[in-house]
Structures are given as C-alpha cells and as structure tokens.
C-alpha cells in the first residue's frame, strides 16, 4: 500500500504493528470525515514491523496524546501544516493517568460511582504498557 503525502493533518508513525486499528477507534467518527491512509505491518528498521496512519485535517489534544501512548508507547506524531512538519511529538507515558482509562475490573468502585475520576499508575514492563487502577489495584496489560 502506498502512503501519500498530506498537506495538513497528522501522521501517526512507529505504531506497534497491528494496533493501528485500535488507534483509529480513538477518533470520534465526526472527526473522521477526512482522508485517511492506514498501512499495517510495514517494515521498520526500529520496530521490525509497524503500522502507520495519516489523517488529513485533524489535530490531537493532550488527552488523546496520552491515549495514543497507552496503546502504543513507541508512537510518534507529526503535525503537518502546509506540507511541512510543523512539530514532531513523542508522547510520554505519565506516571499516573487520570480520567482516561476505564477500569476493566467489573467490581471496581469507579464503575459504580460515576463521580469518581479513574486513576491509574502506568509503567512499561518488557516494552508493554501496564496499568494499575489506584482504587482496586487491578493490573491491566495492553499492547
């Protein structure tokens, strides 16, 4: 698959192979009335295999950056303006993430009491993201 250059928008690169589809799911559908290029399992000198996504006329907010890093810690985001790379972002995994993740322990108090803001301790283990709910201590593993 050929990935075309974009004029304005974002390029999500160095995505862990196969999880690009999960990343596309992060963007609400109304934001996606734009041209998207999505390539999966392409060769990368750094990662072996990677996914890459280009979306035209789209921006990312800080909360989305955190979500992107949680799904694929290796991700890089380039902001493209007038055909030029305006900014290249390598989002950091913050030690504690608030209000972004939902606990996957069905008995967790944060699911029942909606006023509570979820809080997770986040760290990397064997280059996989681990997240621990600070309420119920349930540990979830993602990519």
């Amino acid at each position: 698959m050929r990935i075309e250059r974009i004029h304005n928008g974002i390029v999500l690169d160095h995505i862990k192979a196969g999880v690009g589809i999960k990343i596309l799911g992060l963007f609400p559908t109304d934001m996606l009335k734009s041209k998207i290029d999505y390539a999966s399992y392409i060769e990368s000198p750094r990662l072996g295999m990677k996914d890459i996504i280009k979306i035209e006329n789209l921006d990312v907010d800080p909360k989305t950056l955190t979500k992107l890093a949680l799904i694929s810690p290796s991700i890089t985001i380039s902001i493209i303006r007038n055909g030029q790379v305006k900014e290249k972002i390598k989002p950091e995994l913050p030690p504690v993430v608030e209000g972004v993740i939902t606990c996957n322990n069905p008995k967790c108090i944060t699911l029942k009491e909606k006023y509570l803001t979820s809080k997770f301790k986040v760290w990397l283990e064997d280059s996989k993201v681990r997240q621990q709910c600070l309420y119920c201590e349930h540990i979830a593993k993602s990519s």
Partner: protein, 308 residues
C-alpha cells in the same frame, strides 16, 4: 511517635512494620487497662456502614466500640437505606461523617474504602471492600500469631484451602512476608494463590512453597491457617466431595503435626475443621476472633486520638 489520630485505615500496605507492632502493643495496653478502657470512647459515635452483609465483622466493630464506652449507629443492608435510592457514596459518607466520629464500612465495590476516605472528614476503617482488602482481619490475625507464638520472624505458617478467592489470605501473606514469616501454600489444583500475590511475594524476597498435598510438610508447620472451600469452585459434586476431605482438619491431622501447632480460621467455618478439634489447645480460631475484636478496639482508640 506514631500518628494515628484522624487517619484512615484502608490497606495494611500503608502501615510500616513499626506501626503494625505499635497497633499490637496498643491492643495489649487496652487489655491491661481493664475496666478503665470502658471510658476511653465515652461520648464518641462509631458508624458501621455495611452495604453488604457481614454479621461477624459488623458485630466485632460494634462490640469493640461498646467495650470502649462509645455508641454505635449504622445500617447493614443497603436495600433499606437511601443508598438504594441512588445516593452516591460521597454523599452518604459526607452525611454520616456529620453524625459520627469514625466510620467502619464494608462495601462490595473494590476500592470503595479509599473512595470513601476522599469524601470523609472522619477516619474511615475498611471492613472489607469486595474481594480486595480486609485490613482489620489481617491485623487481628497478625496479633493472634504474636500472642500465641511469641514471634513472627522464622515462623512457618501453612495456608490450606481455596487460596485463589480467599482475600483474607492475600492481604495476610503479604504482611507476614514483611515480617520474615515462612509461607507454605496447600491448595487444590487451580485454586492456588493468584499471580499478583505470587509476584509480590517474589518481589518482596519472601520464602514460600506451593503444593497440593498437606501431608509431607505438615510436621514442620508452627501454624496452619485454614480457609473455606466452596462447592461452586469445583467442576462436579464428586470432585468437591473427594477434595473436601483432603482439605479438612480432624484430630487425625493433629496427630501428624507438631504438638503445639496452632490452627486458625477466619470463620465462619463449614466442614473444613471438624468440631472434634475445638476442645484441643491447638484450636486457635475462637481466640483469633477475640484478638480481632481487641485489634479493632486499638484501631478505633488510636484513630479517634483517645490513645496515642
């Protein structure tokens, strides 16, 4: 000096080993005070908020407060209270904190005690949050071991039964590991300690073994902590009946063990310990419930600041 006044008791992991020892000393101190302890909490109110029933734990908290001369308010069924009308945990806690000086709670939501402490101006004592933590049971058990065995370091403690779902065991073993207790687990296939407990024991450098059969190691044990085995954890009735017997304690079991082996159980028991064991000096489970009560008296007194 240890600062407990105004503090919430959510998780034993929040306590240093020195603080745990201080709690045990305080329980002893209250015992030594005799009748004078009956005035310690005069004029104070404990609220027991039990969103899920646990008669034993609730009675233990209430008896502890009455023995300290205080009063008790509370509910034990969420169905009959405003909670069933959709009130948030934060609102319930904020309101009850206006009526009381300290709150003991049990709630099925895991992490609920921590969440409650964020909305409370009075100390919250976690009386069990789902299958997560049960610190007052753990501290009472720790007190039992010290009183009955005189030490923790080097003690060989066995845990028998369903160790996968038994939250009492999960919190207790992590605390005991910090005190240098040797841990031995005996559970049916598939019901051994969960991975996260095993991981934390490995990380803590604890000495522990895991096996399905009790027999080989039984003669070395100083203490055997027995837990309930529930029928619904097994594939079939036959399997349950077959396994049940190898995880229950009789006088015959005691004959193969050290003379002074201490048998504990968080209660209530089903058939894991035969009643014929009750009259032996090895049966520590009722004394254990008494130590639990004393520990709750110590926690209430310290968190209220009537002792320091």
């Amino acid at each position: 000096m240890h600062q407990f006044q105004g503090r919430h008791i959510i998780d034993t992991a929040d306590l240093t080993t020195e603080e745990v020892m201080f709690l045990i000393e305080t329980a002893d101190r209250i015992e030594a005070m005799g009748p004078a302890a009956r005035d310690l909490c005069k004029g104070k109110i404990l609220a027991t908020l039990f969103w899920e029933p646990s008669t034993r734990t609730r009675l233990s908290f209430e008896a502890a407060m009455y023995r300290l001369g205080g009063n008790v308010i509370g509910f034990s069924e969420a169905m009959s209270s405003s909670v069933s009308k959709g009130e948030t945990l934060a609102d319930t806690i904020q309101t009850v904190a206006l009526y009381s000086d300290i709150i003991a709670m049990r709630h099925p939501g895991e992490g609920s005690a921590l969440a409650a402490s964020m909305s409370s101006r009075v100390p919250i004592i976690n009386g069990g949050d789902g299958a997560h933590l049960h610190p007052t049971q753990t501290l009472g058990d720790c007190y039992t071991l010290i009183m009955e065995k005189g030490r923790l370091k080097g003690l060989k403690v066995g845990f028998l039964g369903d160790l996968l779902f038994g939250r009492t065991v999960h919190t207790l073993v992590r605390l005991l590991a910090r005190f240098g207790v040797e841990l031995h687990f005996f559970a049916p296939e598939g019901l051994n300690i969960p991975d996260y407990v095993r991981d934390s024991l490995v990380k803590a450098g604890a000495t522990f073994t895991e096996q399905t059969e009790l027999d080989a190691r039984l003669p070395e044990l100083d203490v055997l902590y027995v837990t309930r085995i529930q029928k619904e954890r097994f594939f079939s009735e036959e399997e349950y009946l077959r396994k049940k017997n190898s995880y229950s304690i009789t006088r015959e079991t005691l004959e193969k063990a050290k003379d002074d082996i201490l048998i504990l159980h968080p209660l209530p028991r089903n058939e894991e310990i035969a009643m014929e064991v009750d009259p032996t000096p090895n049966a520590g489970y009722f004394r254990q419930a008494e130590y639990g009560l004393k520990m709750r008296m110590a926690l209430i007194s310290l968190c209220l600041g009537v002792l320091s």
